[in-house]
Structures are given as C-alpha cells and as structure tokens.
C-alpha cells in the first residue's frame, strides 16, 4: 500500500505514539484487504465501549491512547455497560472502570452517543465513505443507506477516527459491492425473527464481503436491523443486497435451515425476563411496541435497551410512560449483549426476539434463551 508523505510521517511517530499506532493498524488492514492507498472518511463509529467487552487491557490502552490523540472526523460510539442513572445493582469496580473508558472516549473528542444504531440517530451522508465498527451498523449502513464501509474492528475504526482515513478497499469500492453468491429462500421471511434467522444462516455460510438475497421482498426497518445484527454475529460478511442476483450462483435456504439456527440459539422453552433491544430500539420500534401493548401489560419483567437520546425524544410524546405502565423498564445508553445486568446468578433464562442478543446472552452471559418474535412475546406474556 502506498502512503503519502504525511501518512509516512504519522507511521514513523512524528505526530506521537497514538497516531503511529493508528497508522500501523491502517497499514495492516490495508495489506489485509489489498488496498493501494488510504482514503478520507466522513464519519467513524466505534465499538469497544462496554467494560465487560474490552476489560482492563482495553481500558488501559484507551487511557494511554487518548492522552495524545484527538478524533479528526465526526466519531460516534457504541453503548456502554450500564445506565448511569441506575448504578445501584453494580460493583464499584465495574462503574469506576466503565467511567474511565467513557472519559477516555470523551478526551478523544467523540460524540457521546452510546448507541449501536448511529444510522437512526444522525443524518446519513448517503454515498459517503465511512468507517464503522459495530457489525450491525456496518452491515445496515452498507446495505440500506448507501454508506461505504468495510466491517471494521473496534481498533481499525478507532485508527480511522484519529487519522480521518481508511483503506480504499473491498466494500469501499463500488465494483466490490456486488455479490458473487445469492441465497434464495424458499419462503418469505415475515417477522423480525425470520429475518434474523436468515441473517445468522447467511453469516455462517458466506465467506465473501457481500451477499445477495434473491426472490424476497425488501425488509422493513425492523427486519433489516434484525438481519444485519444476526449476520454480523455469525460471520464476517459486511453487506447484503436484495434481488441483485442476475449473475450469481445460488444457495437455497429452506424452513429446515431456519429451524436449525433457531434450535442452535433457542435453548429454553420459557424465560424469567423479556429482553428487547439488540440492536437498541429506535423511535420507530418504541412507538410500534407501544401500539402493540395498548391495553395490555407484561406478566414478566421486560427490559428495553435504547439510547438516552431516543428515550428523551420519546418521553416528549409519552412513550416511556405508556411502556412503563405495560411493565417495561428502560436501560439507556447500554446494550443487552454482555450487559452486567443479566447474570446467570440471578437469571436462568431470558425471552428475546433478537438473534444477536440470544447469541451473546448464551455464549458470554451464560444465560439460557427462549427466542420468539415480538408479536408472539406479547401474545404469550401479556
């Protein structure tokens, strides 16, 4: 990969150790994706905010890194590990470490968005090159919003945020944004859970950066979020297209494939707590949920994960009050995946409509999961 004279200086350490580390990362992923050069980006979105995911190693790294680097482009960040207005259930150690991470990101100059759905919170510069970690955001933005990003890692997006650059390669090149393979479902996905099952299957079987789905309708917002999150969970594929499969080879997807994914991730008949929000819920989903719960009340506790920005916005139209009356509790600026609030010591099993939440609650939190679509959850538990 060719670097400009300025980039070479950055790599050599002329602009400090943090920038040198950032350029080392960009060079490695540039080589990995066979980029000829770096290109400017308009926006970086970083993962690696929750202390439960990055641990002490990550927290110490960010503290050092943020001492001598600042973001060069608009940079938004993922959810953290807890809701700052409800610290009671957590250890002092967790809170101290979590806030150290938050402060490091603030020092870097990020927008404290604490959201995994930046595409629903901020204006989207369609057609622009960006650098998104957080796999659901990368896949959704490539596939639904015409943003151009590779499926970045937490560290590669961080490197892009402080340099304003990313390798010009793979999904950042228009010619690479055409799938070589298509998955053709033999049935139409209807619920958000159906889209998630399809996404998880696709992530598992596809090695390419882009996959096409044939003979299916365009997913709605909830379906596309579920599909993107599930695909990001099981694989490395960073983009999907719908019905663009003229010259592709096909893979079939049948009801038995969907059942196999569900059997893998849903290992409980029932659960103690309902968990909604991986990805976090946006305004659209909160008001949809409010409509579905009209005149009803959950018989089990229901945890809703969304950003503080979305919660504040929704409170102006009375949505959180209505949902609280229906038995829901809000956890803001956090995420259900690897949350310290759902622990096997207190919770045997959860009920969720999210494939991503199911995978992480199962594998990281070691809690059993009962997967159902949202309408079934409301029918069965309210």
């Amino acid at each position: 990969m060719q670097l400009t004279r300025e980039e070479e200086k950055g790599l050599k350490g002329d602009y400090g150790q943090a920038l040198a580390a950032a350029y080392r990362i960009l060079v490695s992923i540039g080589e990995a994706t066979e980029a000829e050069r770096l290109t400017s980006i308009k926006w970086a979105h970083l993962s690696g905010v929750n202390y439960n995911t990055i641990g002490d190693g990550g927290a110490i790294f960010l503290e050092k890194f943020s001492k001598d680097a600042r973001v060069k482009v608009k940079t938004t960040i993922n959810p953290m590990g807890f809701d700052r207005t409800q610290p009671n259930k957590l250890s002092k150690n967790f809170i101290t470490k979590q806030m150290s991470i938050v402060n490091s990101y603030k020092r870097l100059g990020v927008v404290p968005s604490f959201s995994c759905i930046p595409y629903e919170l901020f204006s989207v510069p369609r057609g622009s090159t960006v650098s998104f970690a957080e796999s659901n955001a990368a896949i959704f933005s490539n596939s639904m919003l015409d943003l151009l990003t590779n499926k970045e890692s937490a560290l590669s997006a961080l490197a892009s945020s402080v340099t304003g650059k990313a390798p010009y390669s793979d999904l950042r090149k228009n010619e690479q944004r055409r799938a070589k393979l298509s998955i053709t479902p033999s049935f139409t996905p209807k619920t958000e859970l159906d889209w998630g099952l399809l996404g998880y299957f696709a992530g598992k079987v596809i090695n390419d950066s882009c996959i096409n789905f044939d003979d299916i309708p365009q997913p709605d917002l909830r379906g596309a979020k579920s599909l993107s999150a599930a695909m990001g969970t099981s694989g490395s594929c960073g983009m999907f297209t719908i019905n663009h499969g003229e010259e592709t080879k096909g893979i079939t997807y049948e009801p038995k494939d969907a059942s196999a994914v569900k059997d893998e991730l849903s290992n409980s008949e029932d659960g103690d707590v309902i968990v909604l929000g991986s990805p976090q819920l946006g305004m659209n989903e909160l008001s949809y949920l409010t409509d579905l719960l009209e005149g009803r009340r959950f018989r089990k506790p229901c945890m809703i994960f969304c950003s503080r920005a979305v919660h504040s916005c929704a409170s102006h139209i009375g949505v959180p009050d209505k949902l609280a009356k229906a038995g829901c509790t809000f956890i803001c600026d956090s995420c259900s995946c690897l949350t310290p609030l759902i622990r096997k010591e207190e919770t045997d099993s959860v009920i969720t409509n999210s494939i991503k939440a199911a995978y992480y609650l199962n594998h990281s939190n070691k809690v059993a999961v009962c997967l159902k679509d949202l309408k079934a959850i409301i029918k069965d538990y309210s």
């Binding site: 580390a21 080392r24 990362i25 060079v27 490695s28 992923i29 080589e31 990995a32 994706t33 993962s47 690696g48 929750n50 995911t53 990055i54 641990g55 002490d56 190693g57 990550g58 110490i60 790294f61 970690a133 957080e134 796999s135 990368a138 590779n150 499926k151 970045e152 890692s153 937490a154 560290l155 590669s156 997006a157 490197a159 992530g203 090695n207 990001g232 969970t233 099981s234 694989g235 490395s236 690897l338 995978y359 992480y360 594998h363 990281s364």
Partner: protein, 140 residues
Amino acid sequence: MCLVIKCRKIVGGLGFGQSLVTRQPINFLTMLDPETGIFHDLEHELHGRSLESKVLVFPKAIGSSVGAYALYSLKTKGLAPTAVICTSLIDIITASACAISEIPAVDMKGQRFESKLMIRQGTQVLVDADSSRIEIIKKH
C-alpha cells in the same frame, strides 16, 4: 528437517511455537476465557485448549468487532499466540489486533489448497512474516 511454505505478510516479525490448528472460525470476544486464554466455547473444536505461546492456525475471525480488543488484552496478560496464520484471507479483526499487539501475522491467500493442510496440530512452526515464510520443523 524443515518444510517451507510461502505466505503473505500482514504484520511483520518472527514467531515460534507449537501449532494450534482449527478449521473453524473464531469469535475472540465470546469463545475465549479472557482471564486464561483458554477456549471455553463448548461448540468450538478447540474447547479446553489455550492460545498461550502457540502459533494459531485458523481461517478467520468472525462476529464481534470488539474481538480485536479481546486478542490485544490476552497479549497484555502474556496469554497471546506467538504468531497467527490465517489459512485463507486474513480479516480486519485479526489484522488490527495483531498490528497493535505486535503479533506476527500472515495469511495464505493465493496458496495451493495442499499448503493449507500441511500444518498439522501440535507441530513446531516458525513464522517469519518479513520473509513471507512459514517453516514447519519436523523431528528426525
């Protein structure tokens, strides 16, 4: 006696150790115990095995973008592999984590299928990333 395979350099350096080989991809965030570097995912074929001081031979990382921090954190605890070989195209999670952790990393893009199968479980392997060479050291 040693057998030499060509590879593609991603992160430079020299790494030596016993190979830990899998054909299954790895989610570094969920599949490894961050305190021990041991695979704790029951469904992974490396379940119970440790990454520490091994030459990790695997297809690619999958899933969480935070997997990069997970691998870096293992390095800070002395539990990281001494080198990483991706048997197809290296992914961004692995490449970025190795770059920051100074773990030599190579992949076998464009190599013959047979080359990818040559590294057996538990053999001594030297990864010379800067020379784009993998040496498999055989006894006798």
